[in-house]
Symmetry: C2
Subunit: 396 residues, 2 copies
Amino acid sequence: MAGRRQTPSARSSPGSQTSLRKRNQQRVVEALVKVGASTQADLARRTGLSTATISNIVSYMAKNGLVSLTPTTSSGRRAVSVQLLTHNGTVAAGIGFGRRHLRVVLVYPDYTIAAEENIVLPQKYDPREGFDLAKEILTRLLEQTGTSWEALSGVGVGISGSIDRRDQMPVIGTVWAEWAFVDVVVELEDRLGVPVVLDNDANLGSVAETIWGLHGAARNLVYLKVGSGIGAGLILNGQPFNGATGITGEVGHVQVVPDGQACRCGNRGCLEAEASTTAMLDRLRNVTPITTTEDLVKAVLEGDVAALRVIEDAGRLIGRVVGDLASILSPEVIVLGGPLASLGDILLEPVGRAFARHVLPLVRDSTSIVASTLDDRGEALGAAALVFHQAAVRVI
Amino acid sequence: MAGRRQTPSARSSPGSQTSLRKRNQQRVVEALVKVGASTQADLARRTGLSTATISNIVSYMAKNGLVSLTPTTSSGRRAVSVQLLTHNGTVAAGIGFGRRHLRVVLVYPDYTIAAEENIVLPQKYDPREGFDLAKEILTRLLEQTGTSWEALSGVGVGISGSIDRRDQMPVIGTVWAEWAFVDVVVELEDRLGVPVVLDNDANLGSVAETIWGLHGAARNLVYLKVGSGIGAGLILNGQPFNGATGITGEVGHVQVVPDGQACRCGNRGCLEAEASTTAMLDRLRNVTPITTTEDLVKAVLEGDVAALRVIEDAGRLIGRVVGDLASILSPEVIVLGGPLASLGDILLEPVGRAFARHVLPLVRDSTSIVASTLDDRGEALGAAALVFHQAAVRVI
């Protein structure tokens, strides 16, 4: 469990002094992202923090390769210009483990993407084989970009299913069976020798949308991933929302059909059991040769009537649940992600219709529903961003 | 509209410099609540804010009667002790307008209750008559406590139904018909001559629970008000959550019965249309002489079978929706408030059963469902607290 203790996220509880220091550091990062290079006096003015606090935060960040310090002058006096590091060699890696694929990305601290690779895997692959493969790809990407392992700040990992924030373990009943009881953080830290942070794919998708998506300015953003599972990542008041347990946005387990299909969570008729890509493929099994999500997307785009109907039915169920979600959270935008996002209006149209029918009218008029523009890269990108966010708020 | 412009809540947008100043001031208040009287140097240390920032905030709060400044010494040097003002005569008033009652409370800045009064009104009373009556009661309470109008920091008001945070107007379709198009803030500011802040009853109930309830330490708390309407107030990450519009927690408009009873929102089969006290009374109309919520509560406590069954059926619907809500937000605690809270386990039992059946198991085990201990006082109390919160974070 030595690896576990390195995980920054395990170190602090909300409301503590540590949490206060984290919030202060987050402010410095926000200011640097917004205005670029600044003197410490500038940062103090912009954040309202004391120069002593700013000095501590800047020292820590410099030591950890997050900012560069350059001598400059300010009002004729000597000062130090603080800048978020970009292409100085420091990178974060993001790994997204999908049902049948694995994506690794390398990202610089200014969020430009250094390199990425996606490979297809057999369905229900062994997670340990996935970890070994991820290491291979990561090694290759580091070599390609001339980056040393020492320059790797950390690795973010996304899996489908909930993560219990209290012990960083996947939650049984929400992850695929072969991932139950797998201690992803320890397994990967053992293999990679760098700190690993783990989160749920939908949560990471929401983080990626705020950085690389078209709606990053939204203070309240819901990222709804529709794939072999269905889940939402929540950005509330500008921050990822994790609730008491980390198990949030589980709209896939809202019941939409009383006594419907059995769900892996133990309930029946859950949105995920009725409207995930798995459920869609199941509905088509007896009348079409379609067996994969890729085939389904292709058939829909070719106008296959049965496939279109399955998308429409699923869209209606999704729209209804998303409508209820919006009546609770009133977000500025709901981003539909996952392998069906490329269908655009074909999916958005039935979703929007059911949404409009169920949500409160005023919330309907102030909430946009859009398709993600990140294809299936959101998870890995968000995982890499998480590394910087965790590092940026590491205890000082 | 002159009165409208005085409303502090209308002044800032999230993410702005104003919002940063608000957050800084909130920290000072938190520190003073937690440790009591402090020097400005102490406050700077505790909050990480600069002494200049602290000095600005303290001056503003002193000017507005929120803190007292007393000369003291610290490490042998002259200093000023800052203390949140308590019984110095400064008060906030809270007014709760219910379906058939009106409650006014006076609260000191340390949240002790100075005075309160509750009167019963005819159903569907004219809001303007309510405003006049509220002024009468408020005048009486100020006299009783020997408080001048000048010492009144402001008045918080709670009504049933959503408030659009963008224009501070009640949202049509969520408020009772006679409250539609009523500009509560302007009407009351005209009558009272002090700043008025308006919020939804469930939101205010959630604020009251964090201060006067038994679960105030929870970072994520849902207050579910079940009365003639049903709505939830959300405390997320320790703060009231308002989303993009202020229309949040609207679980009363989640559909629970396809094509069920028509709801005032325009939809059918909403939780509110099926499980509010109004819906319960409607179900009992033909078989019992029960016509008011008070009679319903009395009948249930006396073991009336029809009344018990109606509570159980409503409880199941409520539990299901609350289960879905918890799978989305994973709160530490859900507090049931409103006129049925006094039923305790008679209501909590069916709610808990349906909740357990619908929520994800791990969230179920980490979420408590309890009855409010504030009777029907939460709304007015929360409204008074809101005055201090708004004042404490007023632009400096």
